[in-house]
Symmetry: C2
Subunit: 578 residues, 2 copies
Amino acid sequence: MTEEEKLEIMRHSAAHVMAEAVQSIFPDTKFGIGPSIENGFYYDFDLPRSLTPDDLSLIGSKMNEIIAADMPFVRQEVTKEEARRLFAAQPYKLELLDEIPDEKVGVYRQGSFIDLCRGPHVDSTGEIKAFKLVSIAGAYWRGDEHQPMLQRIYGVAFVAKKALDEHLKKLEEAAKRDHRKLGAELDLYSIHEEAGPGLVHWHPKGAVIRRVIEDFWKDEHIKRGYDIIYTPHIAKLDLWKTSGHWEFYRDNMYSPMEIEGQEYVLKPMNCLGHILIYKTRLRSYRELPLRYAELGTVYRYERSGVLLGLSRVRGFTQDDAHIFCRFDQLEDEVVGVLDLARFMIDTFGFTTYRVLLSTRPEKYAGALKVWEEATDTLRRALEKLDVAYEIDPGEGVFYGPKIDIKFEDALGRGWQGPTIQIDFNLPQRFDVTYIGEDGREHSVAMVHRTVLGSMERFLASLIEHYGGAFPVWLAPLQVMIIPIADRHLDYAHQLEDELRNEGMRAKVDTRSERVNLKIRQAQLDKVPYMLIVGDKEVADSTISVRLRSGEQAASQSLDSFKRSVRAAIASRAKDLEL
Amino acid sequence: MTEEEKLEIMRHSAAHVMAEAVQSIFPDTKFGIGPSIENGFYYDFDLPRSLTPDDLSLIGSKMNEIIAADMPFVRQEVTKEEARRLFAAQPYKLELLDEIPDEKVGVYRQGSFIDLCRGPHVDSTGEIKAFKLVSIAGAYWRGDEHQPMLQRIYGVAFVAKKALDEHLKKLEEAAKRDHRKLGAELDLYSIHEEAGPGLVHWHPKGAVIRRVIEDFWKDEHIKRGYDIIYTPHIAKLDLWKTSGHWEFYRDNMYSPMEIEGQEYVLKPMNCLGHILIYKTRLRSYRELPLRYAELGTVYRYERSGVLLGLSRVRGFTQDDAHIFCRFDQLEDEVVGVLDLARFMIDTFGFTTYRVLLSTRPEKYAGALKVWEEATDTLRRALEKLDVAYEIDPGEGVFYGPKIDIKFEDALGRGWQGPTIQIDFNLPQRFDVTYIGEDGREHSVAMVHRTVLGSMERFLASLIEHYGGAFPVWLAPLQVMIIPIADRHLDYAHQLEDELRNEGMRAKVDTRSERVNLKIRQAQLDKVPYMLIVGDKEVADSTISVRLRSGEQAASQSLDSFKRSVRAAIASRAKDLEL
């Protein structure tokens, strides 16, 4: 058994111990399930009242008692009938029991607690080492919003206290960087129950970041030979039937609207509009590749239970593009996208990423030979750029193989990033062709790709990566000018004008508050630069610069400051320097 | 009677004469209605077959015969019963007859034709002067798509041949500039029956123009103290019930979609998302005015019969903004919007515009006093800027008075442009307030405004205004580089690189075609500058510049060319110069 497997067993056993502790406090608890998960475990409970943080301490203490008592875990095999008696007061367990086809089932006991469980477990409760209960959350039974809402307690568990402490510190750091928390504190976005869950409203400051990213994205795409286009958010349902989306993707699509007897749906993807534009005229091989890029907002149904801030939403803007090319151009095109994806990841300050090449799944469209060639093309492109990659066998989309890139943020957490998908399906269904050098019609090779993913999820990753302290080029406000007294206001506004004329985002804090309070506020708002101006600065026509880190520079001229800010913006510098 | 009234009577009489001519060719014609319209007249016919352009000539000749015969128009008053006998074979006339409450009705005869008509008419057909039949179009009876489709013939008519000829020339010019024709020829956009009528797909070249306008628009708004935001395209129906849109605007909204038992609709306006963002926290009087701007794509139902290219569509992107301010700031805010609107109109090269101040309609929300004050505020703002305006009495929206600006294009045709609307309704319904200096809650003043209207309609006006020959800063392709022979290709690409590095939109025409053909194509594509490069240019490292007008400049250095193009772009010059 590997260390990782041993750890999983220990975590699973900790879940049972937690259940025993809960039972000792709430004897009528109905138990859901309690598996091990990454770094720890959880258990779902149906309880007479909502749990409080105080309950967590109490449950934790009880667990420590049970662990200290070192009670053995005892496995027993019983008939289903016996099991039904054992769990007569446990409706969720009975439901699970009904679904087990075997005649005999396993149960595990430790102390006064018995659970329907395959195991395995540790030998006795004393083997459970460093653990901590970390949070409470609501969770529908079986993840289904039509079922009762249970209370889930999450715990983390490790062999050594040191590993636990390190993990808790990471959790604490992650909580501080949670984009939902920072999104509210920094006034970046909001989601409104009245408008609908999963629908993001970008506030002025969040919108600045999005706009800067979009402008950068567009410029970079134009440089690399893409054409920007715009397509509508709705289309006739029939189009999505032709494409196969209504058959294969319907669960993620919204219900149709009726207009003059025709059904229309919100687009869940941008591809069809791009195909319609491609097909407005006959295309020659000379025109290819055509690269159509769109910041296209799509709407996909996600269960309200799984929605999460900006990272799991119902409407999002994909940084989408579709490449139409000849098959002999495919490798170069994939190399181009990979290069662009790496450039983007690097520009935004992520340093580590994992590349997965997903191959043919069991159910697939298109000929076997074409699949093999396309998968080889992806492989060759990866190798050409010396990109290390793993194979994700059978995880391609039904319409073609793909490359996914997951980048890691400052805390080492993975984020779904760029994707490059070859599509054999749509060109066939929509008869997307070009006239070859031979004067005959040929099917195009089509690539779907994003290099950021979506603006929403990407912003979530950026917020958490930087803990809200964005690089200057992305910061909503770049320079906060803080006059020491009202008599310095004129000079402050003069500085503001000069910086704004340079296209910099600068503002004067005009409030009648103490300077220290203003500095503290600008630091909380994570404004990269503060210019503090008082008598000396007005007299000498200089400025005092302070960074959000607290670092302070000597007096300097506005020109010298502008030069260094300009340079930081132009180079998209990740770190602030003085 | 004014000259204009006399002209209208003559045009209406021409419609009757046309009906007589049609009857003489198709004796079984069923007649719809035939009014005078701006510049002419039309008549709707139910005919046994579709009309051809040849039919128009024939009908025109018949009309000339009737006019030459100088037959008198005779009015007669008959009972409804008599009228029913007279129009026994005319189902549409019988339908109209049924709706007339009076016991007696008027009929007019000239020659063999009799019509149910109030008149008045000219004394005899000889008084009809210069006319021409110009087009045939389908038109539903009573404009209702559930009724039969009739054939409508349009004619124009004037007192003098000169006025007719001038008008026909203008029509010809308008047809050449028709944005639907140029949109296809210049490859700017398309609309697809498969995706749905009225849904615009912006092609690469059209999207360049849109993007350049949007970037300019955003920069200008940021300069003027607006915040750019983004809001979703759907929201819960309940929100639109609270706002009153579902009650007052439902006919223009799409049918709801259902998500997890909740109804959602596509937004027909951007205001509610902006209000939700405003309301995410308490606002102090110190923060106001807040100016939220969004290039917000909205969807509104329009009957398919009225859709027209880019100018009447079902989905469009408004250059929208909502200003939340104190009532004492309202005048300055309106002045600011007016100034911005004039700046925009002027920048895009329109020279004439009409301003309408629309006052309180019969049905209105809010107190009379508030209406008067707000209308005065609009008036004062107009006068402060010395803007000439007309009053459009009773044409305000139910929620407040407004200013509309209609600008004229190169052919003197009016386009709906900026609108500034004060809203008393939404702040009440959503309780949109701020905390005043007195520490108490006050209702905000809210302004809805666009300064272009929508990207779609504005592009239609631009295409027609410039006949597709856009100013350099807007041109999709700014410089076409035309090598005389293949040996000049390297130099051509070198020029292309240098221009692109400057951010200019340049391309080499690499086709193996004759130079004259390439020049002709670039002229048809209305590319502002052509650089023709041959042996001499390669040898001297110079370029020969040709304008799309055919004008040609002496050889010059690339640097000098770049300088003048850069200046033309920076100043958003309307005309090309060498």
